[in-house]
């Protein structure tokens, strides 16, 4: 495979560029995504390359931005919508939940909504409680939406390309603290990571950890340390949070008999709870040797000061503690 080192941000940009080159119906829509390059510089240079007709800047009007995306998608285009901060999708929820997620169903399948909504999410930038939230759990409760969350630059490229080619509205969760991370990314135009397929990030035998987004890196670090102590961790990254491919998780739990779910979004009502419930409903439950644990964001608004913000999200020590607990070492 022909690889290049790219940042998460560059990988996203490469995905959009390639899909725009391949399909003239793909266009970008959002605030400050032109000359400025988007608030996080993800679309930098694309307006220069593709013109103002295809990299379309809007006023600050999230409800209409998302609804416009849906209307354009209904009539044959493939919009990639950027919401400046995931937090601002609150202003576009009617267009997203009541319209984009419903029209395929209400038209008896006659109308498709091939739209991607990119949401720069999560903490780690000191931006505070209105600019740091992780909303993926909300969207996982809306049939009609697909929710994807890459954790590495390669995943960012492969998943975003799959999302753009998909005929449904896809919520694309981009954790902001990942934008500067660097990793190997396949150059191939057809490098696609299929949606709705979970990925085994690391093989292990003692405990299964399901995680995604920035928590993936926290868990990987913890797994590295634990392996030095002889504890073998299997890491599964669902990549698509809804609808989630549970099969590899069931299989892994049957193998390890222990499950921990780690995510940055708040614990209560989080995606982790749904995974735990699915295990409880499956015969994998009979294989469990200890209770399922969740290591997740605290149930608080995201604070600004660095030590407070760090305290909110799961860290390496939190994951290690949970593993000790589940294997009976604490």
């Amino acid at each position: 495979m022909n690889l290049q080192e790219l940042s998460f941000r560059e990988a996203l940009r490469a995905a959009m560029r390639e899909e725009m080159e391949k399909d003239p119906q793909v266009f970008l829509l959002g605030e400050d995504i032109g000359v400025y390059g988007g608030n996080f510089n993800v679309t930098k240079g694309l307006q220069e390359e593709f013109g103002k007709e295809r990299v379309v800047e809007t006023p600050i009007s999230e409800s209409t931005i998302v609804g416009m995306g849906a209307g354009a998608a209904m009539t044959g285009l493939r919009p990639v919508v950027e919401i400046m901060f995931a937090d601002f999708i609150t202003l576009g929820m009617d267009s997203l939940v009541n319209h984009a997620a419903k029209f395929h169903y209400l038209s008896k399948g006659k109308v498709d909504i091939p739209m991607v909504v990119r949401l720069p999410s999560g903490a780690g930038t000191g931006a505070g409680s209105q600019h740091s939230q992780s909303f993926e759990a909300w969207f996982c409760n809306v049939p009609g939406l697909i929710v994807a969350a890459p954790g590495t630059p390669a995943q960012a490229k492969g998943l975003l390309k799959a999302a753009i080619r998909n005929n449904n509205p896809v919520i694309f969760i981009e954790y902001k603290k990942l934008y500067d991370t660097i990793g190997p990314v396949p150059r191939e135009d057809n490098y696609i990571i299929p949606l709705e397929e979970s990925y085994v990030e690391r093989k292990g035998s003692d405990v299964t950890i399901v995680t995604w987004g920035p928590s993936l890196h926290v868990v990987k670090k913890a797994a590295g340390k634990l392996s030095e102590e002889g504890i073998s961790v299997e890491i599964i990254n669902p990549l698509t949070l809804y609808p989630m491919d549970m099969k590899p998780i069931y299989e892994s739990v049957k193998k390890t008999s222990r499950l921990i779910i780690v995510h940055e979004g708040q614990k209560t009502g989080g995606v982790g709870g749904e995974i735990a419930a699915k295990i409880a409903e499956n015969d994998a439950f009979n294989y469990l040797d200890s209770p399922i644990l969740r290591v997740a964001g605290k149930d608080i608004p995201v604070p600004v000061a660095k030590p407070l913000e760090d305290e909110m999200a799961p860290g390496v020590a939190d994951v290690i503690d949970a593993v000790y607990k589940t294997v009976g070492l604490s």
Binding site: S61, M68, D94
Partner: protein, 322 residues
């Protein structure tokens, strides 16, 4: 004088009659407990609904409708039996029982459906209009809404965006004087809601929404304007909902006198009178149209009753596209 031929005017009246009979039938069935779920009727608003729909249909344009969109749906040519089937929760209904009265769809005629959230049509219409520019189709979008929607954020966001981007969309607002039970004077400080167009630098006009021919002419011109590259156009069509907002509405917020006064302005009556006065149709021909519309609705109802019940095993079909 109308730009429509005599035959086309007859057809316009015929569609208004069909819409009226269709809704009266729904009202009757609802009262008898034969309909599950709610429906929002536009009895009295046929001139604005059908007239605007006909303008869009003639030009091959697209439309998106509100929860009170039966008049437009029928005006754009939807098959009555498919609509009735949807009302009865039948598999062959336009959404196979998934949508009901608030979600009629009829893509074959450019009708992208009704939405049940007030103000929800504005952003979608902007996106549909964006596609027309992007693909250079030369078409425009008829964005239907009501007076209740003009105080939502979507109205202001979308009028602004449509103006800035010069999108080919006609914002067609039926002002029936009430947002559910709340009179417009309690919700707006402007005399005419079309005055608001000025704030977005677009043309706005208030018209007699119970005059079907005027509605047709003005909407046609507005669609042409939008397609010429000038951008959006706002029309406020003054009309009146002679029935309640939905089936649970006892209309305690207005007097019978007011309703009776507006019945004197009934759009079907007015168009019929116009046709007689101008010798476009005889009394007998008008009667024949009325009888035909009446029969059409009964035939549609019979057909719908013979359709299959919505299949429970298909309830999760069409949640996602392939």
């Amino acid at each position: 004088m109308s730009s429509l031929t005599n035959e086309e005017i007859k057809d316009l009246l015929y569609n208004m009659l069909k819409a009226r009979r269709f809704e009266e039938k729904l009202q009757e069935m609802s009262r008898k407990g034969q309909l599950y779920g709610t429906c929002h009727l536009g009895i009295g608003q046929e001139a604005s609904g059908v007239g605007a729909a006909l303008a869009a249909l003639h030009d091959g344009d697209l439309a998106i409708l509100t929860h009170r969109g039966h008049n437009q749906t029928i005006g754009m040519g939807a098959d009555l039996s498919v609509l009735m089937g949807e009302m009865l929760g039948k598999e062959q209904g336009c959404a196979g029982g998934r949508g009901g009265s608030m979600h009629f769809f009829d893509l074959e005629h450019g009708n992208y459906g009704e939405t049940g959230v007030v103000g929800g049509t504005y952003p979608i219409a902007c996106g549909m209009a964006f596609t027309q520019v992007y693909k250079k189709t030369g078409k425009a979008v008829l964005c239907c809404s009501g007076d209740g929607s003009v105080n939502t954020g979507n109205f202001h966001e979308s009028l602004n965006i449509a103006s800035v981007m010069k999108l080919p969309v006609v914002f067609f607002i039926e002002n029936n004087l009430y947002a559910m039970s709340t009179p417009v004077e309690n919700t707006m400080s402007v005399i005419s809601l079309s005055d608001r167009a000025q704030a977005y630098g677009i043309p706005g006009m208030t018209i007699d929404g119970n005059d079907a021919l005027e509605v047709y002419e003005i909407v046609t011109k507005a669609l042409e304007y939008a397609k010429s590259g000038e951008g959006p156009f706002l029309i406020e069509a003054l009309t009146y909902r002679q029935c309640g907002h939905s089936k649970n509405d006892d209309q305690c917020y207005r007097s019978q006198q007011e309703v009776d006064n507006w019945r004197q302005e009934d759009p079907i009556y007015r168009l019929s009178e116009y046709m007689k006065e101008n010798h476009l149709a005889t009394e007998a021909e008008l009667y024949e149209l009325e009888r035909k519309a009446f029969d059409d609705v009964l035939v549609a109802l019979n057909k719908a009753q013979d359709m299959d019940e919505a299949k429970v095993q298909n309830v999760d079909r069409f949640v996602y596209a392939e």
